[in-house]
């Protein structure tokens, strides 16, 4: 299997504080990889390095075959990103948002036109194309934001708590979109505070105090830590944390 993300002893220090401490892992193409950890464990810092937004202090990593020190601009072009906090522009219409994101990633007019039509059809939003995103229900917005994050057909998409505050039905519809993207070969790197969502991942890593404390399939983790659910696994590991939560 092709490795699409690799990290070897990846480390980030801020002064004398080690936010990310020698993490190593490899993620396969098309994998749904859950990146869990308590607040302040170092998830965001690690994710920022992998997205090419923050330079590591030491260690190595490649994303989509590019080196995170020398080729971070190429990495930015090869990934999609979505978070609950920042996704779409409320004061642009659905189509304008797509035009904007497609333009940012240097897509051609023809590509943008065709892709816009296919996303609207797929989401059954044909009639809403000219409506302001701000006027749409939250559930639609989140699904639209995911489609826009993979608008430029990136090999990898980073999802930072994509389903926070979303109702249970929409949350599941959102995950079925993740499965479809994964089946189409897109690698999914996702953080979440919902432990049932950890079960939907192929593999899960759990960070504690800057280190990856566990990395395995959900089934194997539950067996290793003698827990009934991923919630139990998470509590066992995260309670070991000694540094203050953020």
């Amino acid at each position: 299997m092709e490795k699409i993300i690799t990290a070897h002893k990846l480390t980030k220090r801020f002064g004398d504080f080690t936010a990310v401490n020698q993490i190593s892992f490899a993620i396969q193409k098309g994998e749904i990889f859950g990146f869990l950890g308590a607040n302040g464990a170092g998830k965001t810092t690690a994710m920022r390095m992998l997205c090419g937004l923050s330079m590591p202090s030491s260690g190595e990593a490649t994303v989509a075959g590019f080196d995170i020190y020398r080729e971070n601009e190429k990495i930015k072009r090869s990934i999609g990103y979505m978070s609950q906090k920042f996704s779409l522009y409320d004061d642009l219409t659905v189509k304008e948002n797509m035009r904007f994101y497609g333009g940012i990633y240097g897509m051609t007019d023809t590509f943008i036109r065709d892709k816009t039509a296919s996303i609207l059809e797929q989401l059954h939003l044909e009639k809403e194309g000219d409506k302001l995103v701000g006027s749409l229900p939250l559930g639609w917005k989140q699904k639209l934001a995911f489609s826009v994050a993979i608008f430029h057909d990136p090999p990898i998409v980073f999802l930072d708590e994509p389903t926070g505050g979303v109702d249970p039905v929409t949350r599941r519809e959102f995950w079925s979109m993740i499965y479809q993207a994964s089946a189409a070969g897109i690698t999914i790197f996702v953080t979440t505070h919902y432990m049932d969502e950890a079960e939907y991942c192929n593999r899960v890593s759990i960070m504690v105090d800057g280190r990856i404390e566990a990395l395995d399939t959900p089934a194997q983790l539950k067996q290793t830590y003698q827990a009934k659910s991923m919630d139990g696994v998470f509590l066992k590991l995260a309670r070991k944390a000694t540094r203050a939560a953020d």
Partner: protein, 312 residues
């Protein structure tokens, strides 16, 4: 100040309606009624956009409803808003302390505003405040998320409120800190404080005395968590196999399936009346070659919420 205790309900809400927009096009609260008893830990459970914050802002006298009535501790939210403001504590979802004041300065400020002192009510916040006391000279804006939350709760409690409104205190908070926060709430409840807490996390419903499940401005159900679950009448089956995606499609294809959706490591299947696990099992064996594990299971709040959303 000595608080007059009375026997009336802590919160009474009757037919509240709230709209936003020039043409009242956004219906935030659609005829909401509920009653919260003295000393109750009452949860308002629902996703973003359900109307939780609008309801809290009306009850804390920061927002006017279009119609309907509401009272807190027997005081009417419009006419007697000044009384209510003296006796409630409100922790908004967004961090609202002064970022350029230190931890200790913030706490003193809120105590003084309410005509009291930190010393006088320190017993109420001791458990929470000791955790941030080592940083008492740090500016509030420089605290980590978890510490900001503890300071905000301390400031909300420092005047010993009779009713506490906590708007999504655990949103974006990890599973361990969430557990700790709920343990703090349990201790506050033991002090006799009525607590209304809103959350989008369905699994927190079980920690409340009673819950209101909210969606799109309406209340789907008000009950004890146990009763919400026991009112789920359909048979529920958990199923898993090596191929979860294909299994879900197969489960949805059965004529006796009311609803089927992923649920952690399993899929949950809600059976129509008159259908059961045996029928489902033989159907799945017929249409799919993959071995399937099936077991009857108990619904939880999230199953109930999904079922109630479907009924709407």
């Amino acid at each position: 100040m000595i608080r007059q205790t009375n026997t009336m309900n802590a919160v009474e809400v009757s037919h509240l309606v709230k709209t936003y927009g020039k043409k009242k096009e956004v219906l935030a609260l659609d005829d909401i009624s509920l009653v919260v008893g003295q000393g109750e830990l009452f949860g308002i459970i629902g996703p973003d956009g359900a109307g939780k914050t609008s309801l809290f802002r009306i009850l804390t006298t920061l927002l006017l409803a279009d119609s309907g009535r509401a009272s807190v501790d027997g005081y009417e939210v419009v006419k007697q808003y000044k009384e209510i403001r003296n006796w409630v504590g409100y922790m908004p979802g967004k961090f609202s302390l002064y970022p350029d004041l230190s931890v200790a300065e913030n706490l003193n400020f809120f105590a003084t505003i309410f005509n009291t002192t930190v010393k006088k009510n320190f017993d109420l916040i001791r458990d929470i405040y000791v955790q941030i006391e080592p940083f008492q000279h740090r500016r509030a804006g420089k605290l980590s998320g978890g510490m900001k939350q503890k300071l905000a709760l301390s400031c909300t409690l420092i005047h010993r409120p009779s009713v506490l409104f906590l708007d999504e205190p655990t949103t974006g908070v990890d599973a361990v800190s969430r557990k700790e926060f709920w343990e703090m709430l349990k201790r506050l409840k033991q002090q006799g404080i009525t607590i209304l807490v809103s959350t989008p996390y369905m699994d927190e419903a079980g920690l409340c005395d009673r819950v209101a499940l909210m969606q799109n401005g309406s209340i789907l159900s008000i009950n004890t968590p146990q009763r919400v679950v026991s009112e789920f009448r359909n048979e529920l089956i958990a199923a898993k196999s090596q191929k979860m995606l294909q299994l879900l499609e197969a489960l949805k294809g059965y004529e006796g399936t009311e609803n089927a959706y992923p649920f952690g490591e399993y899929h949950h299947v809600v059976m129509k009346k008159g259908f059961g696990m045996n029928g489902l099992k033989s159907y799945i064996d017929k249409v799919s070659a993959i071995p399937v594990d099936m077991v009857a299971t108990e619904p939880d709040i999230e199953d109930c919420f999904i079922a109630l959303m479907k009924d709407e």
